[in-house]
């Protein structure tokens, strides 16, 4: 029974850790499916986290923090759009720039406004997204197997976690069952065809970039006001890049993106769990190996050993109307 609970707790922290990855990964999905590569997920998430932390500190409201996070992240997304859609600049370069601008600005503003070495003050529980106990969690807890699963695993997450996982079927529906989704996918594969149909390629791509900004903002708000209690310098710590890796791993598909994020979240949770412990047969597993595993797996995927990842055909290419 004890090991059962341990495993449940491991899965529980897997869900917590994969939620921000999933949000960022879906964010990247909207953008990249429309043909705009986005290395800047990391920066948008970071800026969103800072905005959420700062606004939640000032107004004591997590929801306002979330709105601020979305606003800031969308603004950065629009900068990316302005550079790569309007001015046909290099999308990778633009994304890299956004990451640096976010990394620097959050620390400088954080230090100037809060004087705590780049972090925002610790948030009270009233200014955070708290865990929600689903109905009946306490009463069902005593039922063997199902009870603990319901109590530990499914109940007791913040609303943003549920939002992240609900966004998976929603994104699938948008992408494959709506007109917008069809056009979004088309503009990522063959923008000329979309243009011929009389639909504005830039406007469509701008909308994709805005979707991406919204979700990155939510991911950032999750880090600062749900998982943590306030913004900490360099809080994303490469999560944006892991989300990017997950997106490639999922071959730019929403449901698979969820599996990839759960896998990477699980590796993260396992790494934390195994820290300093010795396993039978293997011995002590270096934490560094666990940290590097998502990247190594993605490289192996890219090398073509686990199927082939084919990005959207027009990804990274600015559309020139006049040809």
């Amino acid at each position: 029974m004890d090991s059962f609970i341990t495993i449940l707790q491991l899965f529980d922290s897997t869900i917590r850790l994969s939620a921000p990855l999933l949000l960022a990964c879906l964010a990247g999905l909207y953008s990249e499916r429309a043909g705009i590569f986005d290395i800047g997920l990391e920066g948008k998430m970071l800026a969103g986290a800072f905005a959420a932390g700062a606004v939640a500190t000032w107004y004591g409201s997590a929801s306002l923090g979330l709105l601020a996070a979305i606003a800031v992240s969308v603004a950065l997304g629009l900068v990316h759009g302005f550079a790569s859609i309007t001015h046909r600049g290099n999308q990778i370069v633009s994304g890299v720039a956004i990451n640096f601008i976010a990394a620097g600005t959050t620390v400088i503003l954080g230090q100037a406004w809060f004087h705590q070495g780049g972090r925002t003050p610790s948030l009270p529980n009233t200014a955070r997204f708290n865990a929600i106990n689903l109905p009946g969690a306490e009463t069902l807890r005593e039922i063997p197997i199902i009870g603990p699963i319901y109590f530990e695993l499914i109940s007791g997450h913040s609303i943003l976690v549920y939002l992240a996982f609900l966004l998976v079927p929603f994104t699938w529906w948008v992408l494959y069952r709506t007109r917008f989704g069809l056009r979004l996918r088309a503009v990522g594969e063959n923008p000329a065809a979309v243009d011929t149909a009389g639909i504005s390629v830039p406007w469509l791509r701008y909308r994709a970039v805005i979707c991406c900004g919204i979700l990155c903002g939510v991911a950032g708000a999750y880090l600062a006001t749900a998982q943590g209690a306030g913004f900490v310098k360099d809080m994303t710590a490469g999560k944006g890049y892991i989300a990017l890796a997950a997106l490639i791993f999922a071959k730019w598909r929403p449901v698979q993106a969820m599996y990839a994020c759960l896998l990477f979240g699980f590796l993260d949770a396992l790494g934390i769990r195994l820290q300093g412990q010795t396993l039978p047969l293997i011995g002590e597993v270096p934490v560094q190996l666990m940290q590097a595993l998502p990247y190594i797996l993605t490289i192996i995927l890219l090398a073509g050993f686990i199927g082939k990842a084919i990005p959207p055909k027009a990804g990274g290419v600015a559309y020139v109307k006049e040809r």
């Binding site: 001015h87 890299v96 720039a97 601008i101 990394a103 560094q288 940290q291 590097a292 993605t298």
Partner: protein, 380 residues
């Protein structure tokens, strides 16, 4: 739209346009300084004074510039081939392993002038090997080199933490670093160079690798513009189709270019490890690999431009450290913003001002042409 744009004269393309982009980037950075309640002009004065106002300021500025010359060249060589090597950070990191290998192994017994060339080779090879797999994946599998090099940055960081903490760190030291190299693993300072122009460098760590960086910049110029290989690299960068048609092997060029690029990044490790700290400290790269992107974009991938841009960023690093004393709200992270803005305006938005400038030059030249025609008509 299809109005014929005049080709910009070289001085405008390589001088004026980068300057405009730079000014805009600094202008926006100034707004951030205003936002935290300090005066941008005062900050700029403090920065320049901190970087060039004293002998050790100059020493530190050029010391940082050394790192950025190497990483800037790394990014630029890849740019010429149409590749975006974002992995300078990881390649420099692994390059440090090569330097430490030589420094720890031979530093106690051999003099520095024997150890140094070996260390250059070892760091270059280590960096080149770290770039090999992304290069191969790009050339053979078509997986984007940007993605793979990002991944390799993280893998390099994990590997280095493991190696330094678990293997290289002596038992009696708490912080994650190797033991100090022997006398042979320490590069001579360039204090005499600054003394000769009347500056006292004091404890600034400017060392011989600065000159190596300048030599590397010259060699990159020779490679790109004066050799057959460089011609092939540029052809591949301009038009992969044309290169293929001309019988240039894509696989070979991509792998060679990326390995040269990785080797340049790896050599950056010489400066902090052999030149300054005389031991391998964790995190010695400290973002220099990423600064290289800004430096290469600003220097327009030309070695001369890169050296100038590297000195500018060296100034920002050194001056930024000095500013923090007088303006506690501004830390070195300000440089990260400036770096981001430079990448944005000189890189992603490089076309923003170009059409305006082209139109301007177009109208200027047309006027001149018009008067010439009129004169010619009058004389007949």
């Amino acid at each position: 739209m299809s109005q014929p744009f005049a080709k910009l004269p070289a001085w405008a393309d390589y001088g004026l346009l980068p300057l405009i982009n730079l000014i805009v980037a600094f202008f926006v950075a100034g707004l951030v300084v205003l936002l935290v309640g300090e005066s941008p002009i005062e900050a700029a004065v403090l920065m320049v004074k901190g970087a060039f106002g004293s002998g050790d300021g100059v020493g530190y500025t050029l010391y940082y510039a050394t790192n950025f010359i190497f990483t800037g060249l790394c990014v630029a060589v890849a740019f010429h081939c149409g590749l975006f090597n974002i992995g300078g950070e990881g390649q420099a990191y692994i390059g440090g392993l090569g330097v430490a290998f030589i420094g720890l192994g031979l530093g106690d017994t051999l003099p520095w002038w024997v150890v140094f060339p070996l260390a250059i080779i070892a760091s270059g090879i280590a960096g080149a090997l770290w770039a090999l797999i992304p290069a191969w994946l790009q050339a053979r599998r078509g997986s984007h080199v940007v993605i793979t090099t990002i991944m390799f940055n993280f893998i390099a960081a994990s590997i280095m933490v493991y190696i330094v903490v678990q293997i290289l760190k002596p038992m009696n030291i708490q912080s994650p670093e190797t033991r100090v190299f022997g006398a042979g693993g320490q590069l001579p300072s360039l204090g005499w160079l600054l003394n000769s122009v009347g500056l006292n460098m004091r404890s600034a760590p400017l060392n011989l690798s600065f000159l190596i960086a300048l030599v590397a910049a010259f060699l990159v110029w020779v490679l790109i513009w004066r050799t057959k290989l460089g011609y092939e690299i540029r052809t591949m960068g301009f038009s992969p189709k044309a290169a293929r048609y001309a019988g240039i092997s894509e696989l070979r060029i991509i792998i060679i270019t990326m390995m040269i690029s990785g080797a340049l990044a790896g050599m950056m490790a010489l400066n902090p490890i052999m030149g300054a700290q005389h031991r391998l400290q964790l995190d010695f790269v400290a973002g220099a690999g990423f600064v290289g992107i800004a430096v290469a974009l600003m220097g327009r991938s030309h070695p001369v431009g890169i050296v100038l841009a590297a000195i500018l960023f060296g100034m920002l690093y050194q001056g930024g450290a000095e500013i923090a004393f007088d303006m506690p709200n501004i830390s070195r992270d300000m440089i990260v913003i400036i770096q981001g803005l430079v990448i944005l305006f000189a890189g992603a938005l490089e076309h923003m001002f170009r059409p305006t400038l082209q139109r301007l030059f177009h109208s200027l030249t047309r006027k001149k042409d018009g008067t010439a025609h009129a004169l010619a008509g009058g004389s007949q």
